[in-house]
Symmetry: C2
Amino acid sequence: MSNAKLYLFPVPLSPDTTQKVLPGFNTEILREIKYFIVENIRSARRFLKQCDKSIDIDTITFFTLNEQTKPAEMPEMIVPLEQGHSMGVISEAGCPAIADPGADVVAIAQKKGIEVVPLVGPSSILMSLMGSGFNGQSFAFNGYLPIDKAARAAKMKELERRIIHERQTQIFIETPYRNNKLIAELAASLKPNMLLCVASDITGEKQSIITRKLSWWSKAKYNYDKIPTIFLLFSE
Amino acid sequence: MSNAKLYLFPVPLSPDTTQKVLPGFNTEILREIKYFIVENIRSARRFLKQCDKSIDIDTITFFTLNEQTKPAEMPEMIVPLEQGHSMGVISEAGCPAIADPGADVVAIAQKKGIEVVPLVGPSSILMSLMGSGFNGQSFAFNGYLPIDKAARAAKMKELERRIIHERQTQIFIETPYRNNKLIAELAASLKPNMLLCVASDITGEKQSIITRKLSWWSKAKYNYDKIPTIFLLFSE
């Protein structure tokens, strides 16, 4: 077994925040790696340059891993690891393998007994939960709610049930241009004394984390259109 | 409304890893704050000194927030915020308000309309999930499993159900001296092809993140006794 490791590099959520959200240690590791699995090569190059201008991009090999990648293509991406070279996974924003295709390549590495090393960085899900004031001893991230009307209503009722009976904070996301609509929908569908936290532009200049009852949100003025936003529900 | 903010400061999980797991930005903010809500004053002092030796601890006011703190004592802790002074929350290890009493004081700040600012740092829960290779689009952290035998068995079955029917990764923790027993218990109680990830000593010198089937764990040699460990379950 070689000593090669698969490092998971978090990426900033907002422009020009590399120093604000990443430990210097990540860059020390980054400098030593010549093989990266990335969601998007252009933004990965930009990220590497932001971490350290002196990195010579031309000596680096990139493998693209995104929603179009077929499972059959993944094992060949980790061949450098099997040959003894450490590799890095870089996603588009936030933490690789969290709400991100990186998890598949990590699963393959685990199967092959390769050491996986996650590094510290910004997670909008986790930071939203910290800032919400909701239960951090029990919580669930649900990704996107279903689009089909009946399935969506059923999911909302199930989230409400888990909040009330299990005291489990429920976290989810929405396609950003539908953020405002989702808030109105939650206010119309769930109990008015349910608490909704809307956490938007996490780590960005317009970061805002606001926890209020749905009865407040139903009358509030807000505009989260096209802003990356996390939604969290809980009750008192 | 004053401009005072409640900052949430993550703390290293392992000794001597401050530079490895915290962005330099956190220390810049830390230096400006004179009022802290902390789980343990001694370790908070040590943490401040690790971030910046030049911080004058004697000019800082600490409020203790732990499991013994009564809800009635919390509002007075944030009086400095209401008087216009930014404050910080520091937990014992990891991210405040995640599996930690800090969430209550955040909830009070939210109710009073005070801006809450979570900072980036190590979360053993999130880093374990990244390294597990499990579904990061849907996951739940369940805290500790129930101790009562019947309730514990029922909870395990419910976790198994959510993994299979909802494809939701299930994450939980155990009192560290019972870690080994829990692994044996999971292997004996759940389907042998279920995947268990055992993530121990995250960010520490003996960090290990191993994902294998329960049939493998049932025969494996391991010793996680008294080592902080996160357990994750999923199925292929």
